[in-house]
């Protein structure tokens, strides 16, 4: 079919509304963020002095305030990634296998139970767990008291604060990984297992020799999405531990938003946000490259 200028224009009209939204609320903010990060940009003043890369240089100059909050926040975030990601993968897979091993009629029911918390907003989830973890009146400590165990400072002491953040993260988000694993497990051809049974393989051998290799691509997908999600950790420490005790769970995103809205220095906060975003993008690209490389060898 011949394409006239009019036809090209009408085709363009279809994409125009989304393209406009994309440019105004995604593309422009990215560029504007870079612009802001190159200035001494204070939230309440109208004069913004151009400072070039000074904000970035400060982040990477040891001993400065910016470097201090950036790298301390980053280290806390990395700790959370290291604690949470292995559990998000292993527990997600375990739940998927548990659901799949149940009698057919019960599968849907338990899948819904395990997935339900995923529907809640971060703030609803946090308020529920604030009450569960409350030192004096909380459900968990009341339960422990019945069992004759002393109060646990769930949110106010380490390592309990970390344990609480991990528990709530698993409770809230593990259903997502479980769903993807269930789907992957269902796609492993049944005759692989039958053939292995004839050869006398036990359950563990079937798991390591058939299940794991078959779901490897999905496993890597979950590794990437869970790592990115954990890097973006904010709601749980912001609402549950409030970064405490001390600064022990003050993750990078809390520091970025504090710098922007409490200290009102949007310029340096934007520089921090950009470095953090680049880190996340680099990590996802590296993981993606590693995984697509390995798939070829499998």
């Amino acid at each position: 079919m011949k394409s006239t200028a009019v036809s090209r224009f009408t085709s363009f009209l279809f994409i125009l509304p989304y393209l406009a939204a994309f440019c105004v609320f995604l593309l422009f903010p990215i560029l504007y963020g870079v612009f802001i990060s190159l200035h001494n940009f204070e939230l309440l003043s109208t004069e913004h002095e151009f400072v070039g890369l000074a904000n970035y240089i400060e982040i990477f100059t040891p001993g400065t305030y910016l470097s201090d909050i950036f790298f301390r926040g980053l280290w806390v975030t990395v700790q959370f990634v290291l604690y949470s990601v292995p559990l998000l993968i292993v527990v997600g897979l375990a739940l998927a296998m548990l659901v799949n091993a149940l009698p057919g009629k019960l599968r849907g029911l338990f899948r819904t139970f395990y997935f339900l918390p995923y529907a809640l907003s971060a703030s609803v989830m946090s308020v529920i767990w604030l009450m569960m973890f409350d030192t004096n009146a909380g459900f968990l400590n009341s339960l422990l008291m019945k069992l004759g165990i002393a109060n646990v400072p769930w949110l106010t002491d380490t390592p309990w604060a970390w344990i609480s953040l991990i528990i709530t993260t698993l409770w809230w988000t593990i259903g997502f990984n479980m769903i993807i694993f269930i789907n992957a497990l269902n796609e492993v051809p049944e005759d692989y297992y039958e053939a292995a049974s004839i050869d006398g393989a036990n359950a563990w051998h079937k798991f390591t020799n058939i299940t794991l290799p078959s779901i490897r691509p999905v496993m890597l997908f979950i590794m990437i999405t869970s790592t990115i999600a954990s890097f973006n950790i904010f709601a749980q420490p912001f609402l549950l531990t409030r970064g405490g005790p001390g600064d022990a769970t003050k993750v990078l995103l809390i520091n970025v938003l504090d710098q922007a809205f409490i200290r009102k220095e949007i310029g340096s906060a934007s520089a921090m946000a950009i470095v953090m975003a680049l880190l996340i993008i680099v990590i996802s690209i590296v993981q993606f490259k590693l995984t697509s490389g390995r798939k070829g060898n499998a």
Binding site: F25, L102, V127, I128, M132, N136, N141, F238
Partner: protein
């Protein structure tokens, strides 16, 4: 032996289910207790003195002096309008990208949109705030709706669907004299109802559940969404009024849990599709 194993598995599944469901049951139970009983540290799932006060006060606006009904109305309207806008503009864009091959820069735009899926929210959060601030749109419904329209997930999801739609039907319609708009509105959209429902559930839950952006993008109490409002309460001085807080979270969770349970099937489908790229 096999029967015993099945029984053990079911018992294990029930034990795990208790971990997931118990906090929700406890929330529900606490919502019907007065503050005194909620703070007593007793583990009674059935309130000794069940009361509807927390809900009645909530609806009257007396609950901690916050306009909960207004917050819920804000969340629902922002969620519904945002979802409608996303469905319309994303389906039009996906149609153009998948079916209109004379679209200028078609391949480039497609790659840019797909690449944008990788961009973390932290990159746009602060400049978006400054942008809305400069436009005088902080504390408006526009600020709560517009940012959600830029995401490329829906375009990508619908693009995949439209790209695999059989050519012959479209050709036949064109020979009958249908123009692009008619092909989009009368042939492609009706065929995409189920995937549009999926996208609608996804988008609605995303907008309804977001709390960080609404927390900063609204400044007056009556403009808060319910999630931002609850976050304010949680970080404020209300944390000891568990009965009232739980009534509030119960109200907040209700719409989205309903949407989730009703739409679970298509929600699950969308998640698994996003994994199988």
């Amino acid at each position: 032996m096999a029967k015993q194993k099945k029984l053990l598995l079911v018992l294990l599944a029930i034990a795990v289910a208790i971990f997931f469901v118990l906090p929700l049951v406890w929330m529900l139970s606490t919502a019907f207790k007065n503050d005194f009983e909620a703070l007593s540290g007793k583990m009674n799932f059935f309130p000794l003195k069940p009361t509807l006060d927390n809900f009645v006060q909530g609806i009257n606006g007396d609950l901690m002096n916050v306009p909960i009904v207004r917050w819920i109305a804000n969340s629902l309207s922002v969620g519904v309008i945002g979802t409608a806008v996303v469905l319309i503009i994303d389906s039009m864009a996906a149609y153009a990208l998948a079916r209109l091959h004379d679209l200028p820069l078609r391949r480039t735009m497609l790659s840019v949109f797909i690449a944008s899926l990788m961009i973390p929210g932290v990159l746009t959060f602060l400049p978006m705030y400054m942008e809305f601030n400069a436009l005088g749109l902080i504390n408006t419904y526009a600020a709560l709706i517009l940012p959600a329209t830029a995401g490329a997930f829906g375009v990508f999801l619908l693009y995949q669907f439209f790209a695999s739609f059989p050519k012959e039907i479209e050709e036949a319609a064109r020979i009958d004299g249908a123009n692009k708009w008619q092909i989009y509105a009368r042939i492609l959209l009706p065929s995409a109802v189920s995937i549009m429902v999926t996208l609608a559930i996804f988008t609605f839950m995303g907008i309804y559940n977001d709390f960080v952006w609404p927390l900063y993008a609204t400044t007056s109490p009556e403009m808060r969404t319910i999630t931002a409002g609850i976050a304010m309460m949680a970080t404020g001085s209300y944390t000891q009024s568990y009965g009232k807080l739980m009534a509030m979270t119960t109200i907040a969770a209700l719409p989205v849990v309903l949407v989730f349970i009703i739409g679970q099937r298509s929600f699950v489908k969308a998640i698994t599709q996003s994994a199988v790229k």
